[in-house]
Every structure is written in C-alpha cells, then in structure tokens.
Amino acid sequence: MEKGFVGGYVGTILYVDLSTQKVRKEQLDERFARTYIGGKGFGARTLYDILKPRTDPLSPENVIAFMTGPLTGTAASMSGRHCVTFKSPLTGIWCDSGAGGDFGPEMKFAGYDGFVISGASKKPVYLWVDDDEVEIKDGQHLWGMNTHECVKSIRRDLGDEDIRVATIGQAGENLVRYACISYDLYRDQAGRGGGGAVMGSKKLKAVAVRGRGSIEVRDIRKFEEVVRQDLADHFSEAAAKNDPLMTNIILYGTVNGIAIFNEYGLLPTRNFFTGEFEGADKIRGEVFRERVYIAEKAGFGCPVPCAKLSLVRGGPYAGTVHSGPEYESVCMLGSNCGIDNPEAITKASLLCDEYGIDTISAGVVIGFAMECYEKGIISKEDTNGIELFFGNCDAQIEMIRKIALREGIGNLLAEGVKRVSEKLGKGTQDFAIHVKGMELPGYEPRGTLGMALAFATSDRGGCHLRCWPIGEELFGKLDRFSTKDKATTVFRQENMQAMRFTLGTCEYYTQSFHKLLSAATGWDITMEQMLRTGERIYNLTRAFNTREHLNRKDDTLPRRLMEEPMPSGPSKGHYVKPEDLNKMLDEYYAIRGWGNNGIPTRAKLHELGLSDVARDLEREGYVA
C-alpha cells in the first residue's frame, strides 16, 4: 500500500476491528498530522470522532488507540514514548496513558504511526504485527497468564526474543478498573486509567510487534545537529555537573523525590492523612540504591538512566527482580500505606506489574481500605482474616493479589476508590482520594495550591502529568501557599505537556521541540505554534469530557483535602480552601477562554480550528 505523509512519521495508521476480525490500513494525511502532531493529539481526534458520547468504556464500542509521535523512535533525546488513548473504565471520561520502552519505536520500525483497535473478540486473541503482515492470533493459551509469562510465551511461540509485546495480566482480564498495560519483560507500563481493562473487555490479551523498517526524516543533517547540541547542553557530563536534579535522577531514579517532598511536608502519608512520613528516611533514594538497585537502565533512545533494575537480596522477599520501583510507586505503595520497608515496596510494585495493575491507584485504594479497616468500617471478616493495618506490608501484598483476581474483598476494591466509597457509605467518601474517579498520585495538594489546581483541572482526573507546578512552587518563584499566578502556570504547563505527549517525548524533556519537528517533517514550525497545538488538544479532550456531562462541579478535590487542615509537618495547618480553589478556577477558565461553568466557548474552539466540535457541543446543549 502507498504510504501517507512521511518525515518523522512513517505514513500509515492500522485499524483493527476485533468483532469482525478485519484489518485495514489508512494513509496518514499531512493536514491531520500537522493539526494534531501525533500521540495524544492523534488519539484525541480519533476517539472524539469515533466514540459516541456515553459509550460504556467496557463495551465493544470503546476504542483503544496506541499512537506514536513524529519523534518516537528517532535519536531525539528522551523520545522513545508513545501514548495509549481510550475511554477510561475508571473515570468514564477521556484517558491517555503514556509508556516508554521499545514498543512505540518498534511500531514505527514496522511502519505504523498508530494502531486503532475497536470491537471485541469472542475468544481471547492477540494481535501480531510483523512489518506489513498483520494477524489476529488465537490467545486462549495465554489467558490467565501474568504479564511476564505472557511476554515469554509469545516470544517463544513466534520464535524471536526481540519481539516487543504490550500485554495485560490477570487484572486486565478480570476488568479491574485500574488495570494497566505492561510492556516487555520487567520494563514499562502504560499505567493509568484502566487501559488493561479495556483490552480485557475486548479479549485482547496482547499486541506483539516486530519491525525491520526505517524512520525517515526530511533533513537528517539538521536533525543530527540539533540532537548533538541537546546532548551537549543538557545531558553531557559537563551539563550534569551543573544540574543536581539530573545527577540525582541518574543515581537514585525518581525515588530521589521521596526525601525532597517529605522535607516540604508534601509526601502523601496514610491515605493522605498527612504530608510527613516518619519512615521517609527508610525509603529514600539512597537506601534503595544501597539495598535494592543493581543496575541503571534507560528507556529507548534516552540518555538519562532513570530506571533501576532491582534485586532484593535478603529477607522474606529475597529473589525479587524488578525494574523499578519509581517515585510514584514508592510513595503510593509506601508512605501512603504507612509502609517503610524498601524490599516490601519493591515486591509489591513487582506484583502490580505482574498482575497488571496501576501502582498509583492500587496504593490509594489499599491505603483507603487500611483507613476503613482501622476505623472499623471494613472488618476482619470482610478481609478474610487479613489484618489490614497501615504499615502491614504482607497484608498489602495479599490485597494486590485479591484485587487482581477479584477475590473476596478484592472484588470490591477492584472498582476504584470512588465506587468503593460510594458502596461503603458511612462517610468514607470524605477520604476517598480521587478526582473525577482517578486516584491521586504522590503530591499532597494541601501544601501546594498549584498541584491542587492541576489535579482539579486535569483532563483524565487525579494526575500529575498534565502539569507539575510543584516544581516552580518549591524551587522557582511561586509561593506554594498562595493562589497567585497558579492559573497561568497551570495553563502554560498543560499546553506544554499535551504537546510533549503528541511528539513521543518524556515529560522531563523541554528543549528544541520545534527545531526537531521542523527538521523531521520539513514544516517550518515555531514554538508558539506547537504550544497552540497543545492548547488545541487540551480543548479537544475537555470537549470530549464535556460530552460526558462534566463541568465545573467536577473540577474539584476530595473533601479531606478541602476541609481537614494538615495535622503535622512543614505544611501543618494548610488546606485547600474552597474559596481559594474557586478563585483559581475562575482565573483558569478565563485564561483558557472557557465559560465560568468550565465548558469551552464557541469562540475559543473556533479560534483553535475546532469549529465542528463547537457545533457538536451546542447541538447537544452544552453551552459555555
């Protein structure tokens, strides 16, 4: 088949309908590529067009799209990422979940900018993409395997150890609402929002890819020049010396953050009860490096080895081999559950990867269950005799298993903290830590109002990857306890992040986007135009959520964070006052050009080239 637009892109998008078992390839249109760039942008437009509002996320009508960006698989620094987009079974709204590693680049070497998978198979299957050949293969023998067994089995069946595999574990099969997608052996996850459950509902156990082709860029010499400059300016030994953050990430991985955030009283502890963990020193980066890490690893095409290969050498969890755990996992499975044992956290994180569960959501759900247990809302009978106290690491490990297999109380906890608290009642909703149904990650918003606004407005619910104002609040010019300039910061960063997720680059990477994209595609792109694209995508995902009836009332935080002052630590006494949040939201909507109800205005959508979206919203009665 003729390729579509090539240059950074490889020119083809693969459509797979699992209900009819039909496969079709479509050429990539240059105008579409330029408007939405790739990754999250491609996913946002594709899903907005295909999905009808109120589609059940676990029905065959939902679509899961693996989308790469124009820089995925090139030598651009930190560019091995791709984006998985779907309607989330956890939140019922838009979700995009990113992953690094070899899978996204392999998709492009095989000749595809994206896979768009719809429908549902009757029997378990897996998708096998071998360059031009695409096959939906029987996967019944894989059903029931954990993620690593499945990867090994597929590689054995197909006779090649270097095939890249995206797979789900038992959690995805059992439709755990926060099941993740796991890649290759002990490597990467597209963790958040329940992409694994969407695959499970489609009976799609795995997607396997092998690519032997090439990615062409329009001006390879210019591209090389920019990449070399980036490496010299930001990642060389000389640059690392001036950048303590980078040095620490290489030494300790992202777990470096534990000590930092604890120092400011922002480390979620015991289900977001407080922001200071007395055991923080036992789970800080230095301890992990000394006791657990054995090697530094990097994602595809990345000069920064933030991933750590871990081996637990002694004690009850001896022999655990794991890639990770990273900051969010250590925080949510560690301090948020009152656990200060690095070996146990490593084991718990490995189990989450094996069963295929998001570590962040799992940590919040189990922390929540521990609080319920200590308050007597969940009894020992409910837990089958497990003493679910804070700090009990064996109980946590057992809970992870129960959730993945939906066994006993795990069947309830597999629904996510929002649904669990609604079912339990008895005031538990006050301390169910989620936004729009998605569990919050490892930053306590009560001591950083920027993160409060970031969590409240995030397009996929409680998430730190839409923007991260905490960096500027702790190390920059912003005052973390004030609402001043928070709306502009969040606006700017959200657009920037949305753009990164279109390109296929990591959230840490900030340099030279426009130069690389211009060299790759032959377009003449400015940074301003790229940020504009970020804004377009953010408005599109907002419109997606508006169609699901979301508006200002959903841009809020759990009651605990808005009413209970922080009981201890350096952020003691602070909380997110409703009037502060409202003030920030007013400012934020104004900057965004949205109505005071949080719905994008027709003028704004028109300005961003989304007039058809504006018409849809008006027709369905959503008026700013």
């Binding site: 698989g73 090139t74 030598a75 070899d102 070497f109 150890e161 270097d162 052996l185 002990y186 690519g211 032997r212 082709g213 090439s214 990615i215 062409e216 860029v217 390879i220 591209f223 090389e224 070399r228 490496l231 990642f235 060389s236 030994e237 054995i294 090697a295 530094e296 690893k297 990097a298 994602g299 595809f300 095409g301 990345c302 000069p303 080895p305 290969l309 081996l311 050498r313 081999v321």
Partner: protein, 170 residues
C-alpha cells in the same frame, strides 16, 4: 583504535543503534545499524559490533578481496563493487558483527564511520568508547586498583558489583 564495549554499564537505551543508522544510512533503523544492543532479561544489555580484528577472519575468507584494511585508520572497510554477497564473511566472523544488507545484499559492518564513530559520540554512559588496547588495559587496571583499595563500606558495593555479574548467567 577500536570500539570497546562495556556491557556491565550499558543502560540499554539503543541510542548507538540510532546514531549508527543515522550516520551511515540517513534514517533511523536499528535493523540497518552496524551496532546492536543485545537485550536479554534480567541484566544483559550488551552493545555488539565489529572489533576490527587483525588478522580479520572475514577479510581472510573473502574470495574477491572486498574487505581491506584502511591504511591510515587501522579499520576494515568493505568495497561494495567487489562484494559478491556470498556471505562467507558472515560465517567467518566469530562475533556476528558482519551481515548482508537485506535490500542491497552487500556485506555490511562497522567501519568506525571512517574514523569518528557516531555511536561513541552518542553514548553518554561511555559503555561504548574508542580507544587503543593499551589505554583500555590501563584504565581497567586503574579501576581494579581503586576497587582493591576501597574502604570497608565501599567493599560492600564491590560485592554488589559481583552479584551484578553473576546475574548475567541466570
């Protein structure tokens, strides 16, 4: 000069493969690269490429004399005019570092980018370096001496290094 690889510190990022195909083929394509990172769980990330042997088994068996030594640079280059794609060099190479290009069918292998290898520039970890055997040997001795003279605390890290190596044989 030759490329020396140190698998024990390789992070497995594969930038070397991309740098190689970028420089030599003008595209990003690991399957066209003359260097490859062999990745096997749990802890093998081994960059593999031509070691510029002398005498070179590939050159010895080549029936047309297509593989010849670059006089100034001390590295072996393949003449695409002379290569008849018989694949004898592929059989002869003990390291799997030479292959036939899938499209052109001509034998391809690393020629140190004619003296300035792109992969070395892109390896910030320094798992791939360019050096003379003497320099490499001295560096290894120096590192061994440092290890032996380390304080008790640092000896513990040395033990973990050992474990790191033993892991590779799982």
């Amino acid at each position: 000069m030759r490329i020396i690889v140190r698998p024990e510190i390789c992070t497995g990022c594969r930038l070397c493969e991309l740098a190689c195909s970028m420089r030599n083929e003008g595209v990003f394509s690991p399957s066209k690269a003359r260097i490859r990172v062999l990745k096997r769980f749990p802890n093998i990330d081994a960059p593999l490429t031509c070691r510029q042997c002398q005498p070179a088994p590939c050159a010895d068996v080549c029936p047309t004399g297509a593989i010849r030594k670059e006089l100034k640079g001390n590295f072996w280059v393949i003449s695409s005019e002379k290569c008849i794609a018989c694949g004898k060099c592929v059989d002869a190479c003990p390291f799997g570092a030479i292959t036939l290009d899938e499209q052109t069918k001509i034998a391809t292998k690393c020629d140190l980018c004619k003296g300035e290898p792109a992969c070395v520039d892109f390896c910030l970890t320094k798992a791939i370096v360019l050096g003379a055997p003497r320099e490499i040997a001295e560096e290894k001795m120096a590192s061994l001496a440092t290890t032996m003279s380390k304080s008790t605390y640092e000896l513990i890290s040395a033990i973990s290094l050992k474990e790191r190596r033993s892991l590779e044989f799982w």
